[in-house]
């Protein structure tokens, strides 16, 4: 934390200095106090870096006291801008104080931060984030990783809420690294990937690279070589773009480690050599040392002991860095390499160098490891006593050491004693070794199991993610496909629509033209139909005219005769009056009266016929009238008969009527119904006349009309004894313009009009029954309440 703090603070100081002066002059507050804090912090960092903890602590306390005083001041609290700066300074003071304190008293450091948390308000998210982040660091330092992770996560949440994306990103990264160290590869990857995403969003190249490399290393650890290399490759490209050779070397180093983990020594060597070549160009000794050491190790693994020695020795010429344990390890390895050559002297020299360094730096593991190696060398020469003395000496100088080294150490001691014949001591040490060995095995197993578990957990997680990703990809693909299909359908639809529109337009114009023609034709047809209907009426009227004339002639004759007679009778009556025969006068006057009645009767009869004729030719009123259907039938039968007789004097037929007296008056359209009846009768006469012409005297034409009430219907039957209607045309007789009459004699509309009148105007039925050579019966069926 302190290193990051230093950087932060330096940046902060540079910017703050100018601003604070400006701010104080503006708000007329004594700048001395804030300057004191800045100065104290400056001193603190200086001493901290010099590892002078007491002085650091002194300035840290000073900074914290001053800043706390300002922080609590009501005057400053009332000034938003100023208070904000003071709050920042106070935060910085607390964070640095706790960092310093942590070196000596971890619980006190944590308490300090807890105390500061209490000073913050609920919505000081950013400040809280910094404090939580520092708490996390402190817990991790005291190896309480879980607690540390918990605080890091809290910090993360605060940074998220405060929308401080950079802090959020750094916290993600550090959380990812902690989890990686802890072996939580899956969770680590989650955070690192988020960090990467955020870094990319922020266009922060260095953060992006950090995240890429961190992710790459996670993959390297779980031996996902290809994925690891992929991330590292991206980092490499970014460094290359920036011409950052240090960065490039770092990535090659990481790649080397990745291949090393994967057991690909040659590839690992290539990358470490590339890293080394770059690192030799700049003076960072640890980096050079490290690269040589890796190369040496790898060559040794390849069996190239000479190469291993050469590189390790070169590495050991770069030791101007603080990583002394690495240097010691490197010497021990070098000694081991010499031992393998074999070159006992050089091995011995090297081990002694390692022994000196270990003892100087109180590096227990180094001391024991070197002692074991030296003992082995002595044993090789049969000098068990010397071996034992190396070991014994080392034992006293290495209080705390890791179990593995310790167990190997006691194994070596036990071996030395047994070779020296001191079996009791050999046994005692062997017991220690056995106990340690169990612990080591247990620890090794545990670590193996943990690693395996972590890798498995990671792989499960990865598989799950992959599956999820695949599912998401599949869904996306499906969506894309669907969109494609939709788009294609849409396009096809559009094309079809366009074609359709064009066709429709063409059709529309054609139709419009056609419609005009059709309308014209239709109106022509309508007028023709009207004319036809009229002509049908006139045709039937024509058929009637003769009959009507005849029918009128008769009553007129009566009228004339009876009036003439009456006139004569009056003369006679006057004569009788003179004669005084009043008896006769009475008779005559009765006759005259009777005659006058007859005149009236026949006059009315003529009038009725004329009326009927007019009605027949007139258009229908469409209003139903109470009509004596029997009388109507009788009248038209007569008219039709007389009409036919006028045309053909020779024609005669037996007319039979059978009217149901119960019929009474019913509601019908009289002219229309009359027309139907006339039509049927005319047809009947035509039929019998035809037959009469062919069959001659042997045939007696008969036409009959009858009415009757049957259940709920009124039936009007018109029958003839003509040839009947052949089956072939039976279906057609009701069709308009169908006629069997010679051209010019029939319109072909009679039956169709009749059908129409009965069916549509009277809701009735017009049926035909016919037997060839026996005759035809037309039946009109009318509902009783029409």
């Amino acid at each position: 934390m302190i290193n990051k703090s230093v950087l932060l603070l330096l940046v902060f100081l540079v910017t703050f200095w100018g601003k604070s002066v400006q701010a104080f002059s503006k708000y007329d507050v004594n700048p001395d106090d804030t300057l004191k804090i800045v100065f104290a912090l400056d001193q603190l960092i200086k001493f901290y870096n010099e590892n002078k903890m007491d002085s650091s602590l002194y300035y840290a306390e000073k900074a914290i006291l001053t800043s706390k005083e300002l922080f609590d001041s009501k005057e400053i609290q009332s000034n938003d801008v100023l208070f904000k700066r003071v709050k920042s300074l106070t935060l910085e003071s607390y964070l640095n104080y706790s960092s310093v304190l942590a070196e000596t008293n971890m619980p006190a450091a944590r308490d300090t931060l807890e105390m500061f948390l209490k000073l913050l308000k609920d919505d000081d998210f950013l400040e809280k984030g910094y404090v939580y982040s520092e708490m996390g660091t402190l817990y991790r330092q005291s190896l309480r990783t879980e607690k540390g992770v918990e605080y890091s996560k809290k910090a993360l949440e605060m940074f998220r809420v405060s929308e401080s994306e950079i802090d959020y990103m750094y916290e993600l990264n550090s959380l990812g690294l902690v989890l990686r160290e802890n072996g939580n590869y899956g969770e680590s990857l989650d955070y690192l990937l988020k960090a990467l995403k955020t870094a990319r969003n922020l266009n922060d190249n260095s953060a992006t690279i950090e995240a890429l490399l961190a992710i790459g290393f996670v993959y390297a650890l779980v031996e996902k070589k290809y994925v690891a290399i992929k991330y590292q490759q991206e980092a490499l490209e970014l460094f290359e773009q920036a011409n950052d050779s240090i960065g490039i070397a770092r990535v090659h180093n990481d790649m080397g480690v990745t291949f090393d983990f994967a057991g690909e020594i040659d590839s690992a060597l290539v990358h470490h050599k590339k890293a080394l070549a770059l690192r030799l160009n700049y003076n960072h000794e640890y980096d050079i040392f490290s690269s040589y050491t890796y190369i040496g190790d790898l060559l040794a693994l390849n069996g190239d002991i000479k190469g291993a020695i050469e590189n390790t020795e070169k590495g050991l010429s770069y030791t101007n860095h603080p990583y002394i344990t690495s240097i010691i390890s490197s010497y021990i390895k070098l000694g081991d390499f010499y031992n393998k050559l074999p070159d006992s002297n050089k091995a011995s020299d090297t081990f002694i160098k390692a022994k000196q360094l270990s003892e100087e730096n109180e590096y227990s593991e180094g001391i024991l490891s070197v002692a074991i190696q030296l003992a082995r060398l002595a044993e090789k020469n049969g000098n068990y006593k010397q071996a034992l003395s190396f070991l014994r000496l080392a034992e006293g100088k290495a209080p705390e050491v890791n179990l593995q080294v310790k167990s190997l150490f006691y194994k070596a001691i036990a071996f030395a004693y047994s070779e020296l014949g001191d079996y009791k001591k050999a046994y005692q040490n062997n017991v220690i070794y056995a106990g340690l060995k169990d612990s080591v095995l247990a620890a090794e197993n545990l670590s193996k199991v943990t690693k395996m578990t972590n890798i498995m957990a990671f792989e499960n997680e990865l598989a799950l993610k992959k599956e999820n990703n695949e599912r998401i990809m599949a869904l996306k693909q499906a969506e894309i496909d669907r969109e494609k299909v939709t788009r294609n359908l849409f396009l096809v639809g559009m094309i079809v629509a366009v074609i359709f529109v064009v066709i429709t337009l063409v059709r529309f114009f054609e139709k419009k033209k056609l419609n005009e023609t059709l309308e014209h034709t239709l109106s022509n047809l309508k007028s023709t139909q009207k004319q036809l209907i009229q002509s049908e009426k006139m045709a039937s009227l024509g058929e009637l005219t003769a009959g009507i004339a005849h029918e009128i002639q008769n009553p007129l004759n009566f009228v004339n005769n009876f009036s003439e007679l009456s006139s004569e009778l009056i003369d006679e009556m006057n004569q009788e009056v003179e004669n005084g025969d009043f008896e006769e006068v009475k008779f005559i006057s009765a006759d005259i009266k009777s005659n006058l009645e007859k005149i009236t009767h026949h006059g009315k009869r003529a009038e009725g016929i004329v009326k009927g004729m007019l009605q027949h030719s007139r258009s229908s009123s469409g209003i139903k009238e109470k009509t004596d259907l029997n009388a109507l039938c009788d009248e038209y039968l007569r008219l039709a008969y007389q009409g036919l007789r006028v045309k053909d004097k020779s024609f005669n037929a037996t007319l039979t009527t059978d009217f149901d007296a119960k019929l009474g008056k019913i509601d019908i359209l009289p002219q229309e119904m009359g027309r139907v009846i006339l039509n049927l009768i005319t047809n009947a006469f035509y039929a019998v006349k035809e037959r009469k012409t062919k069959d001659g005297d042997a045939f007696e034409p008969q036409v009959s009309i009858s009415t009757k009430i049957q259940e709920n219907e009124i039936h009007i039957l018109v029958s003839d004894n003509g040839y009947g209607i052949p089956d072939s045309i039976k279906d057609k007789i009701f069709q308009p313009f169908f006629t069997t009459k010679p051209t010019g004699q029939g319109t072909g509309l009679g039956l169709s009009m009749s059908y129409d009148i009965i069916k549509n105007s009277h809701q009735g039925e017009l049926l035909v029954e016919t037997i060839v050579n026996q005759g035809t019966i037309f039946t009109i069926k009318l509902p009783i309440n029409i």
């Binding site: 002639q553 009566f558 006759d591 004097k649 005669n652």
Partner: protein
């Protein structure tokens, strides 16, 4: 003299009765009426021995005047009745037909009773 008048118009009866009032009273004529051809034939069958003058309309439903004429000429030969057909005015065709079928004479409607009476005097 017996005259059988055949017409489907029933009012011909009072008409003829009045026109022949004097003749009926003086028993110069006796009138009989039939309202269809069939009825006329029946009457003739029932009164075979009488010398009869038949006045018949032509246009009648059922048996027409001409049919009646034919039947009468065919059936009743002893003594052959005098048959006069009454035709509509100006109906040359019917007149020719009536003559062809053996009608003794014909009258046109409206019936001129004076002319009829003169003819009767000649006929009888």
């Amino acid at each position: 003299m017996k005259i059988l008048i055949v017409d489907d118009e029933k009012d011909v009866q009072p008409l003829f009765e009045q026109r022949f009032r004097k003749e009926i009273r003086s028993n110069a004529v006796e009138l009989a009426f039939a309202f269809s051809g069939e009825e006329a034939l029946k009457y003739l069958e029932n009164n075979t021995q009488e010398a009869i003058l038949i006045l018949s309309d032509i246009n009648m439903p059922g048996m027409s005047g001409f049919q009646l004429l034919e039947k009468v000429k065919e059936k009743f030969k002893q003594p052959p009745p005098v048959i006069m057909m009454i035709t509509a005015y100006g109906d040359e065709e019917n007149m020719t037909m009536a003559k062809k079928l053996g009608a003794d004479d014909f009258l046109t409607k409206p019936v001129d009773f004076k002319a009829l009476k003169e003819k009767l005097n000649i006929s009888l």
